[in-house]
């Protein structure tokens, strides 16, 4: 489903006139990532701060803040890097944000209605009727323990940290992606919320989709059991293994392994 070959990406080096970001110097963050993800699999990517985990997620989603300097990414046999941000999303790539942004005045309902319509259009499905859409939002909100009334609130505005993360998984459920990349979905969650989110994601696992979990800690993996665990350090995957690798990392720390 996803095939990453020798991916290099950097940040900075922005043109003059787009001030306010970076110091103008280009800095390489991903230094040759290789990863294969097949349908039905869950991969966990772990690693110390600054290793490039979130950059990998951003680059896959097409965040223009990062520049791919070389390498190849195939998503469902297509050249992912040639697609725009929204085309990737419509093809079924979902990014669960580490810091979901607030969008004042834009209701979750309007936002999700537009997003679901785009996804369904890409799948060749008809637009949902208002009542079908409402029924779907109720069902998916229940999955992550969000009150249905949140659909009339502005996107992430005034949401608690836990609600924001639940809202990411709610959106994932609404959009039924082929590949979900969840960037530190566990950060900022208390134990109960972690369980709800973890179980919610697990309920969305199917034979025909795949999940890439980016996390610092292995505790999320108690709820979403991965098939593979990779350690990212210095912009490369330095170690791969099964579920037990995560437990080893927890016991020994990254220093002992990387």
């Amino acid at each position: 489903m996803l095939s990453i070959k020798d991916l290099h990406a950097s940040v900075g080096g922005r043109e003059a006139g787009e001030a306010g970001r970076g110091d103008g110097a280009e800095r390489e963050i991903l230094r040759g990532i290789n990863l294969e993800v097949r349908a039905g699999e869950v991969h966990a990517i772990m690693g110390p701060n600054g290793s490039g985990k979130s950059t990998l997620a951003s680059v896959l989603a097409g965040n223009p803040r990062f520049k791919v300097t070389s390498g190849e990414v195939l998503f469902e046999e297509r050249d992912l890097l040639a697609l725009s941000v929204e085309e990737r999303a419509r093809e079924g790539l979902f990014l669960g944000f580490q810091y979901p942004v607030e969008i004042p005045g834009v209701t979750m309902a309007n936002f999700m209605k537009a997003a679901v319509a785009e996804r369904r259009k890409a799948l060749g499905l008809q637009t949902l009727t208002a009542s079908e859409f409402l029924a779907m939002t109720r069902e998916k909100a229940a999955l992550v323990g969000l009150a249905p009334a949140m659909i009339s609130r502005a996107v992430n505005e005034g949401f608690s940290g836990g609600e924001k993360k639940k809202n990411e998984i709610f959106q994932m459920a609404m959009l039924a992606p082929r590949l979900a990349v969840l960037d530190e979905t566990d950060s900022g969650l208390d134990i109960d919320a972690l369980r709800v989110v973890g179980e919610g994601v697990t309920a969305l696992r199917r034979k025909d989709n795949a999940i890439v979990l980016i996390t610092h800690y292995q505790r999320l993996l108690d709820y979403i059991v991965p098939d593979y665990v990779h350690v990212l350090a210095g912009g490369r995957i330095v170690l791969s293994g099964g579920r037990d690798l995560a437990l080893r990392l927890e016991a020994e720390g990254y220093d002992g392994i990387v």
Binding site: R65, L95, F97, G105, V106, A114, E118, A130, L175
Partner: protein, 481 residues
């Protein structure tokens, strides 16, 4: 964001859909302005002597005035002798029955989304349709008359309700008020008059749709609304003009009188032709709008969505005279390409315990300049007056400007005046978030901008909210919930 500029430009390069010209035989008078022209306009309208005298007084005063230059606008010199001050479709000024209206006129308003045939009319909205200098048709007049409500063109009002017109016309905006108000008082051609008797609630929205069609002309309409004690009316105003390379002048005056316990809501969706991307053509929209809350606990609320015009100069204001009267101003002003807007409001607190609220949302794009200008004045007898102002500016791109010119002038210690202002650029992280969920860049911009303007758009009556959202290219806002 690398492609953000491109997205914005695509978003903002949308064609002006209302730029067509109706091919209709139009009667015009000679170019230029002098006393004979003023007399000619009055004669065309078969006005009584007192009306002509008022026009001449205004014209003579106008001659003594200078073009205002204090606004943050670059206005090319206007040759007031090169304008045609009266143009009318030659099919006669006013039609009682639909059969007499030129089908071409009906098609024009149909095309603008304003059907005038009874069976097709917008339910719950009575329309006065004004093309160039004359009112073409006013709908639902009979239904309104049953409740004693007068809703007609200004020409008819001068003829049929001389007492009301003599009493109120110019009582809120006298011809001495400013340069463009004086010009309007001299040459105004048509407009709407609306009278709500004591204790009556208007059973439907009243609206005027202004259309400029003829070339080389100016439009000078005059609107007067009188809400007697305890009455209520919601009034809407919309406008469009053909796409032309020359500038056209629109200098209107709106006056509103609100008596005790009465309430008037006045909504505008201003969509005059804004000129092309290089700044060629477009309407100069120099308008004076003011309401007098004369009675105790009277209320006046202005809501405006300003997207059109090459240059906008307009400050819908409230004079809060009655004790406990309330004035509100909600505005979204969007400028793109080379448009310029200097708009805002004045809240003049004269009575005790008067309250006012100002919510202004400016959106600037392209190379446009967008200014908010506000005055909050609390007089010596306005004990306990309160004002809250919120003034936000959103910049789309790095070649546009947003400016805020607030003035606060308080003469009584017990008044409370609050002012909040923000300026922000469109947030790249918000756009990326929306695009990551499958929305196009254009739709993402529209959604974010719609969210920003929501507080104001929500104030509009349903039909207008829909049009306003479309105007702001908010194809998604309001689709649900």
């Amino acid at each position: 964001m690398a492609d953000q500029k491109e997205i914005l430009e695509k978003r903002l390069a949308g064609d002006y859909e209302w730029g067509f010209v109706t091919d209709i035989d139009t009667e015009t008078i000679p170019r230029g302005l002098n006393e004979d022209i003023v007399r000619l306009i009055s004669a065309k309208k078969e006005e009584p002597e007192w009306m002509l005298e008022r026009r001449l007084a205004a014209y003579r005063h106008w001659l003594t005035m200078e073009v205002p230059t204090w606004a943050h606008l670059k206005i090319p010199e206007i040759d007031f002798q090169d304008i045609i001050y009266y143009a009318a479709p030659r099919t006669g000024p006013k039609h009682a029955s639909m059969d007499e209206v030129d089908p071409e006129l009906l098609r024009t308003f149909d095309k603008l989304g304003i059907p005038l045939e009874e069976q097709m009319m917008l339910a719950g909205v009575a329309v006065d349709a004004v093309m160039d200098s004359v009112s073409v048709k006013t709908t639902f007049q009979a239904e309104l008359a049953e409740r004693g409500i007068v809703f007609c063109s200004m020409s008819e009002a001068v003829r049929d309700y001389p007492d009301l017109i003599q009493k109120h016309l110019g009582s809120v905006v006298p011809h001495t008020d400013n340069f463009y108000a004086a010009l309007n008082a001299a040459v105004f051609s048509d407009g709407s008059f609306c009278y709500i008797p004591r204790g009556v609630r208007a059973p439907m929205e009243l609206s005027t749709y202004f259309r400029i069609n003829a070339a080389g002309t100016g439009q000078f309409e005059r609107t007067l609304i009188v809400a007697e004690e305890g009455s209520y009316v919601s009034y809407l105003e919309g406008c469009t003009a053909p796409q032309r390379d020359e500038n056209q002048l629109h200098a209107a005056v709106v006056e509103i009188v609100v008596e005790a316990e009465a309430e008037v809501k006045y909504s505008t969706v201003q969509n005059w032709y804004p000129g092309d991307r290089e700044g060629r053509g477009g309407v100069f929209n120099f308008v004076t709008k003011r309401g007098l809350c004369r009675g105790a606990r009277s209320r006046l609320s202005w809501t405006q969505v300003e997207t059109g015009s090459a240059i906008t100069w307009k400050y819908p204001s409230c004079v809060l005279m009655g004790e406990g009267s309330v004035g509100e101003f909600y505005s979204v002003a969007m400028t793109a390409n080379k448009q310029q807007a200097d708009t805002g409001t004045k809240m003049i607190h004269l009575g005790a315990a008067t309250r006012s609220r100002i919510v202004s949302k400016g959106i600037s794009a392209g190379e446009s300049q967008n200014s908010f200008r506000g005055l909050v004045r609390v007089g010596a007898r306005a004990a306990g007056a309160r004002n809250f102002s919120q003034c936000d500016s959103l910049l789309l791109g790095d070649r546009c400007g947003a400016h805020t010119f607030p003035t606060v002038d308080v003469s009584v210690p017990s008044a409370v005046v609050e002012h909040e202002a923000t300026t922000s650029k469109i947030n790249e992280d918000q756009l990326f978030y929306l695009q990551q969920r499958g929305l196009s860049g254009e739709d993402a911009v529209a959604l974010v901008v719609g969210g920003y303007a929501r507080e104001v758009l929500e104030r509009l009556p349903m039909e207008f909210a829909v049009e306003a959202q479309k105007l702001l290219a908010l194809s998604l806002e309001g689709a649900v919930g």
